[in-house]
């Protein structure tokens, strides 16, 4: 349970007691299923990050046209003077 609370903090979630109980049980079940991966000898196997044969995708370092500020801010829950507004940090 303490572990679920720790992970919830890392995930920036605030769980109810009922959610903590549910997730604690369900995640244990899923991880128990995942434990079957331990049966395999993976010593000499390289990991696959994704399946497309693409490496080092570059482009010319040329400035493009950024999105207009108003458009970028249009979905902001709160804004002020052309900036995103957030609760006090310091």
């Amino acid at each position: 349970m303490a572990e679920v609370e720790h992970v919830a903090l890392l995930a920036r979630l605030q769980l109810t007691d009922a959610e903590k109980e549910d997730y604690s049980r369900q995640l244990s079940d899923i991880l128990a299923h995942a434990d079957r991966l331990r049966e395999l000898d993976l010593e000499d196997v390289a990991p696959t990050a994704h399946a497309a044969p693409l490496f080092n995708v570059w482009r010319e370092d040329e400035p493009g046209r950024p999105m207009e500020r108003d458009k970028a801010l249009a979905n902001a829950p709160e804004r002020e003077d052309g900036f995103f507004k957030v609760p006090r940090i310091v």
Partner: protein, 486 residues
């Protein structure tokens, strides 16, 4: 023949010969949506005004002559995780309920430029996480074949809309089966293209190394036509593959004589429902009768695919969904400090399945567990990819069921792991980045059954050819009663 029964090629011919106007076709579909969708609930939003405006624009282009392509003036619908500028893109989540994207996804933009008329945005499992569309934060979608049953998911709205004749075609996304499994449950054709074939720019990210956009259609030829329109290199997606072969409909009618089809023994085991196995075996016999050579093959690491997938997909999900912090867009819940605001906003905005996956993904990436889970899963991913490579040295196409069962009842499956098990035949295809198509292969107790064809990277044209041959053999001609209602 009613307009809603026409293939895209037929609709295109009617439109370009001006026998039917884009406006008339659009009204036909808007009327059907108004009448039939209350029973199906495929749409989250219907864009009547914008659709009428686009249809009028298409009619002007057609009247002027020239400039009309195969999709000009034909309606379409988009899964609600594909950004469309000016239209709410909710991902079926409270988090994005009021999100209006400032740009359109490349796939949507390509369709608009091709003259498509977007009818609306389609229901899905929240953030594409689920297999039944019951995880939509707004309402579940119902299977047009039996409205007490799920349409599959996560592109459940897309599959149901096409099956019920509420859109001539739809665009979905597939991370572990989210196009193919609902296509199977609803009796339509769904293609998950090769990873990198269709730009993911503007597709709201779930698991970036697995997500891929693809079409859901009534016929195989329609599907190839739509894929041709949305595929192609896009510099705005760094995983978009340059120089991918075009011509997805090339050789469509060339048949399957001499084609080598592998049947993986791991996909025909005890978990498979008898009615599904019967329909799939019937497809195999049909392809054999058409001259294909079939044989049993083996993908020995399939038992590990589900576990590897749920570690990789949730890890990527937890990282991708970190962006929903209540600062730049999405729901914000009030709180006194910053961390409190993040936690309150995310807890109010995400539904139970999304939270579950964010929790699991955060756990497997957290300090001390990375090697044990995430890295191990990535290594297993290599073994799965190599399994396919070995089979494809001997066979051209792999055939399997799309899902172990037909559509189940709404509320029937509540345990997450049991629901995840329903994706065992589709998930390994995403892990290997291969193309996979599901097409209807028959009915079991009045419900559609899908058969899946899997190919080598960028061999979609070969999959379409085999699927077309099977379709033309008359394997499936039924329509749901609900789609026939006048």
């Amino acid at each position: 023949m009613r307009l809603s029964d026409c293939s895209l090629a037929e609709l295109g011919r009617l439109i370009r010969s001006r026998e039917v106007s884009a406006a008339e076709l659009t009204e036909h579909y808007l009327e059907r949506i108004e009448r039939i969708d209350p029973k199906v609930r495929a749409y989250i939003s219907v864009l009547e005004a914008e659709a009428r405006r686009k249809a009028a624009e298409a009619d002007r282009i057609l009247a002027a002559g020239g400039g009309a392509g195969p999709l000009t003036g034909i309606p379409a619908a988009l899964k609600d995780n594909i950004c469309l500028e000016g239209a709410a893109t909710t991902c079926a989540s409270r988090m994005l309920e009021n999100f209006y994207p400032p740009y359109s996804a490349t796939a949507a933009e390509k369709l608009l430029r091709a003259g498509a008329v977007v009818l609306g945005k389609l229901n899905m499992d929240e953030f594409a996480m689920g297999s039944s569309t019951e995880h939509s934060a707004f309402f579940p979608t119902h299977n047009p074949w039996d409205t007490d049953r799920v349409p599959g998911g996560s592109s459940g709205g897309a599959a149901a809309a096409v099956a019920a004749g509420l859109a001539p075609y739809a665009i979905g996304s597939d991370t572990g089966g989210s196009i193919r499994q609902p296509a199977s449950f609803c009796g339509v054709v769904g293609m998950k293209p090769t990873y990198g074939a269709v730009s993911r720019y503007g597709l709201v990210a779930f698991a970036s190394s697995l997500d891929q956009i693809g079409p859901l259609t009534r016929t195989v030829a329609d599907n190839a036509l739509v894929l041709e329109a949305i595929a192609g290199y896009d510099p705005r997606d760094s995983t978009s593959v340059p120089d991918a072969p075009a011509g997805y409909a090339h050789g469509l009618e060339n048949g399957v004589r001499g084609l080598k089809i592998g049947l993986p023994k791991e996909f025909f085991t005890s978990g498979l429902a008898p009615g599904v196995e019967k329909a799939v075996r019937d497809s195999v016999r049909r392809l054999e009768a058409l001259g294909a050579e079939t044989g049993e093959c083996s993908l020995p690491h399939m038992d590990y695919a589900l576990a590897a997938y749920y570690l990789i997909a949730t890890a990527e999900c937890s990282s991708n969904l970190a962006r929903y912090d209540g600062v730049r867009y999405g729901l914000r819940a009030p709180a006194r400090d910053m961390i409190g605001m993040f936690r309150a906003s995310r807890s109010a905005g995400f539904g139970p399945e999304v939270k579950r996956r964010v929790m699991l993904g955060t756990y497997v990436l957290s300090s001390g567990y990375y090697d044990a889970y995430y890295l191990r899963a990535q290594k297993v991913r290599t073994l799965i990819r190599e399994d396919y490579e070995r089979v494809f040295a001997e066979y051209d196409v792999i055939l399997s069921p799309t899902a172990p069962t037909a559509a189940y009842r709404l509320g029937e499956i509540s345990d997450p792991l049991t629901m995840y098990m329903g994706d065992i035949y589709t998930i390994p295809v995403n892990l290997a980045g291969l193309p996979g198509i599901s097409l209807p292969a028959g009915l079991t107790d009045g419900l559609p059954v899908g058969v899946q064809l899997i190919g080598r990277h960028f061999e979609e044209a070969l999959l379409y050819r085999a699927a077309y041959a099977l379709e033309q053999s008359g394997v499936f001609t039924a329509r749901p009663a609900l789609a026939e209602a006048e």
